[in-house]
């Protein structure tokens, strides 16, 4: 007997408003239908009315967890348009903060995955250790989130010797903790039972549905912008791209923890090789007419900004493509034939950053307009029962 469960816009598993409508048969999901739009803030229209400098602060607030990646991606593209080359030290500090943000984002994700699976102790421990990296970021940039350390032509804050030593010491502590979480994530029986074999995505599906980031790497596709399209800093670092080929949530846990360990290596190399010199260069107010495509490896996948300027001090067009958006079609494939209990876990597995993805929405073809027992997922109206079309008990089609 089929009926539709709305995982409404406001749901404890999803920290952000997204609405999923699952066509379910008993406990097995037959089909999924995602409707976003709740988070659409009309950012691209707004960007066309702000100057280049103001846009840095706008692109930074696209998403809380990967704020630095959007800002860096934007600043990279604009520097190409303005033909401004930031000094080496500025670049090194910029990508140091980028790697620190990747560490804090992956630790956050590990905790949320544990919380979705009901493993709250794992959530508490990972988030307690995340505070270490938050303190480092606050020391470097002054704020726990939204670091605003980027500016056109370089970076706004410098690093002194004391800070460098503290970062190295913090990374050493975090490396020990991450290995401990790696063992737990891959061995704790009740946790592994929940994540092994769940949300399976084959390499072919991942390839055809253009999945990005850890979701694709967990299905065996080694695609990492830091390797394919490296900017100044990454081709001087040696690190390898962590992949797994099981294609399920366990594979994503493994890939993310591998990336954590890689990031620690990169941070240490950046700190050791930090060159001397200025950290920023003056940038002109107007950008030369032209267009630029800038790509950046955000913690969740590949971030892409397409910037087109007509020579004035405001961008003519700013197109932002966040990684979560690319993973939505893949999510629909993963949800098929899963269990209801797995919805939040599969959904958390792609580490959705819904506020990033909110310029575009995906709705893969569910049988069109099968408005069966439940109208468009308005979770609370049904729960309240006060709304005009509350469902009288009699005709709730229920097999028992």
């Amino acid at each position: 007997m089929k009926f539709q469960i709305p995982i409404g816009p406001q749901h404890p598993a999803l920290k952000e408003p997204i609405s999923l409508r699952m066509t379910v048969e008993g406990e097995v999901i037959r089909d999924a239908d995602i409707r976003l739009g709740y988070n659409h803030r009309g950012l691209e229209k707004l960007a066309e009315e702000k100057t280049w400098i103001q846009n840095i602060y706008l692109t930074e607030r696209i998403c809380g967890i990967c704020s630095h990646s959007h800002a860096t991606c934007f600043v990279q593209g604009v520097e190409k348009l303005m033909e401004v080359v930031p000094p080496k030290r500025g670049l090194y500090i910029r990508y140091l903060v980028a790697e620190l943000e990747r560490v804090h984002s992956h630790l956050l994700w590990l905790g949320v995955a544990g919380h979705e699976a009901g493993f709250d102790s794992f959530f508490m421990y990972t988030w307690r250790d995340r505070e270490v990296v938050m303190d480092l970021l606050e020391m470097v940039s002054g704020n726990r989130v939204h670091y605003a350390i980027n500016t056109l032509g370089g970076v706004r804050r410098d690093l002194d010797a004391g800070q460098k030593a503290k970062i190295l010491e913090g990374v050493a502590v975090l490396r020990k903790r991450s290995e401990y979480y790696f063992r737990i994530g891959a061995s704790e029986p009740s946790f592994v039972a929940r994540i092994a074999g769940v949300g399976r995505l084959s390499k072919g599906q991942a390839e055809s549905l253009c999945a990005v980031g850890p979701t694709a790497r967990a299905s065996g596709i080694t695609r990492d912008v830091r390797k394919d399209d490296p900017c100044a800093v990454y081709d001087e670092m040696d690190f390898e791209v962590g992949t797994a080929d099981s294609g399920d949530v366990l594979g994503r846990v493994v890939v993310r923890v591998k990336e954590l360990l890689e990031s620690y290596k990169i941070i240490e190399q950046i700190i050791r090789k930090l060159p001397e010199g200025p950290i920023a260069v003056r940038a002109p107010r107007k950008a030369k007419p032209g267009e630029a495509v800038s790509r950046y490896e955000a913690p969740r996948g590949e971030n892409m900004h397409y910037i087109k300027s007509n020579g004035s001090e405001k961008p003519e067009r700013l197109k932002v493509r966040a990684p979560t958006l690319a993973n939505y079609p893949a999510t629909i494939e993963m949800l098929r034939n899963g269990f209801i209990a797995d919805i939040p876990l599969i959904f958390a597995a792609i580490d959705p950053c819904i506020c990033c993805a909110e310029r575009v929405v995906t709705l893969v073809d569910v049988r069109s307009g099968e408005e069966m027992a439940v109208r468009l997922s308005d979770l609370r109206r049904r729960a309240a029962g006060r709304g005009p079309n509350a469902l009288p008990k009699r005709n709730a089609a229920w097999p028992l």
Partner: protein, 157 residues
């Protein structure tokens, strides 16, 4: 496969179809194509130049024409295919049969630019809220909007 090989390869394969071919930066190739043979170019890119991965589709409002840019990314370089469509009859063919993952971005074009994508499997609106007035496309330059008037709580407005 460096940028120059890609450019020579494209010129050889596409011949007349490639209206414009530019390489403004390392690992960036821009290619302008007429809307009619868009699908053929996309299949060629996917099969011969390992561009199965479509990053996104950007729409640009250039006054009287709408420009659509398809950003493909392969291991070697980022190839962007550009087509232009008159604003009067904004019709573009879908590339979903070739790249299933493109359904997202084509949906956005429909919402934001009023571009009609022919043959799209699922044309329902997505990004705009349910009560969005039909026919108004936010990202067009000529679209103006009135800000919802500010209500200061406590009646001191």
């Amino acid at each position: 496969m460096s940028d120059s090989d890609i450019i020579q390869g494209l010129e050889k394969d596409l011949g007349g179809k490639a209206l414009e071919l530019a390489n403004p930066d390392r690992r960036r190739v821009f290619l302008k194509v007429a809307p009619a043979d868009l699908l053929a170019v996309v299949t060629l890119l996917r099969d011969r130049y390992d561009c199965a991965y479509l990053a996104t589709i950007s729409g640009v409002d250039k006054g009287e024409t709408l420009e659509v840019v398809y950003h493909f990314a392969s291991r070697a370089a980022n190839i962007n295919v550009r087509t232009e469509v008159a604003k009067a009859s904004p019709h573009v063919g879908t590339i979903c049969p070739v790249i299933p993952g493109a359904i997202l971005y084509e949906r956005e074009l429909q919402d934001m630019f009023g571009l009609v994508i022919d043959g799209l499997p699922d044309p329902r609106p997505l990004v705009t809220p349910d009560d969005w007035p039909a026919g108004s496309f936010p990202l067009r330059k000529d679209w103006k909007y009135e800000r919802p008037e500010e209500r200061i709580p406590g009646g001191k407005s």
